[in-house]
Symmetry: C7
Subunit: 98 residues, 7 copies
């Protein structure tokens, strides 16, 4: 059975969104239109701890956010059958909204 991962500190667990390589009607999409590297935030850590020791610096994104990911970086993690990636919150470029 797949385990659940709670990231440490300011780490963010992301499930990458694989862009469709053809439209629902079956037309093949040119490579250029599938370039946006995005994902869904599955879990976030509690944040880095400040020097004072008692406080957490909140993580820049939250569970459920659709995020723009950097081209490189991130640590691949496999939980059960699914593949995820871990990022430090400062490496996530932004959140995507419709």
């Amino acid at each position: 059975m797949a385990k659940r991962l709670i990231p440490t500190l300011n780490r963010v667990l992301v499930e990458k969104i694989v862009p469709p390589s053809k439209t629902t009607a079956g037309i093949l999409l040119p490579e250029k239109s599938s370039k946006l590297n995005s994902g869904k935030v599955v879990a976030v850590g509690p944040g880095l701890r400040g020097e004072a020791g008692g406080n957490h610096i909140p993580v820049a994104v939250k569970e459920g956010d659709t995020v723009l990911l950097p081209e490189y970086g991130g640590t691949q993690v496999k939980l059960g059958e699914k593949e995820y990636h871990l990022y430090r919150d400062e490496d996530i470029l932004g959140t995507l909204h419709d």
Copy 2:
């Protein structure tokens, strides 16, 4: 449909201004006059978080600013048909005014 991007932390989303390569009257401009690397700020992040955890250090530029960009750096992002660039606010050289 194009998605909207809200940058994280102190990131700034910029749409580069492509300088005209000829005047409106059709006269070709010499290469030198098109050198200023500028752009329009489309969106800014909430700012870096201070060590205290609760505060944000405000971003140095704001939406709508015309900014002078460094010659190198920035991350290319494509949203829908349009191409943008992401910069850390400390990499933006200044704001341009008429």
Copy 3:
């Protein structure tokens, strides 16, 4: 007789979980399913000391946690017959839960 180790500062003593290479029924598992690099936290240090000198920044994991470990890093330690690994808490990727 095996000695007990109390880690210093933000170090974490971990006993790695060796994934079974065949099922209890004796069927050999393909290499891919044994990939998750995890361990059990056996002991944690008191945390790094803040600049003020009197306070400790709490360690991000606690004794008994099942943790996801980075692919590289960690210091091998042998206590009695058993082999353990020491990690800085910031290098532990997250905690695993059923």
Copy 4:
């Protein structure tokens, strides 16, 4: 028309002083006497922001100052017909006075 540039953070916009290569009377000056690399401060940024987020660390020079510039460094900027250089205030060596 030339745009006006307001530098970000602790950046300083400088117009370099080109030393005359001959005296007003037309006598050619030896290379050695034209060595001082100086400029006029045209605009300064608001200063770096402190960790607290609300304050600015004032810039070390001010508009109108004649400054001694380092031999290397600075970013060339062309506004209209004129050429300027941007420096971080900590790279400016000092102010020159008659």
Copy 5:
């Protein structure tokens, strides 16, 4: 006559424990069982000074502790006939207890 050394700042003076290469009954021990790199803390410094200037950040180990040492590092010191090693407290891996 041997001098006594009081370490500066967060330095720790350690006398390494040389593991017996045979048992008391004279049986040679295999190389593997002598692998634990440990030592006895002979003296500790007052700790690093905090930025405030008046305070010391306490050293992570104390005189008399049996400590686990890193495989590399440490500065060899000879006082009289005996050989010691100096470590920064952050390089000591943990304390050993029966």
Copy 6:
């Protein structure tokens, strides 16, 4: 006419003391006796600014001090006919007294 330079931040303007290569009586001195690299402090900056933004960290030396200079480093500056050197105050080794 020679300009006066006020250094920025923690910079120190020094006029190097050229040791006499022969005594006043005309006896040539051996190379060894001219080795001390010292200078006279001509001007000092206001000091680095602290993070709070309003305060200056005072410069470690003052105008008129005779200082011991490091063997390497320093920026050569020519003001009028005279040659000076700029140092960061932390690079000056000490002050010399009779």
Copy 7:
């Protein structure tokens, strides 16, 4: 005449103790017994300045201390006929006591 040097910041002026290469009775000592690299503290600086600007972080050793020196590092200074070495206080390993 020899000048007196007052070190800046956290610098420490040390006169190295040259270990006797033979005993007072004239017996040559083996190389091993002359290995301890120690010195006498001749002068200390006021200490590094804290960020607040008004305070000094006290130097870890004081005038008259016999100190254990690192094998490498230190800046050689010649004052009059005597040779000294300058160290940053954090590079001094400890103080030696009978």
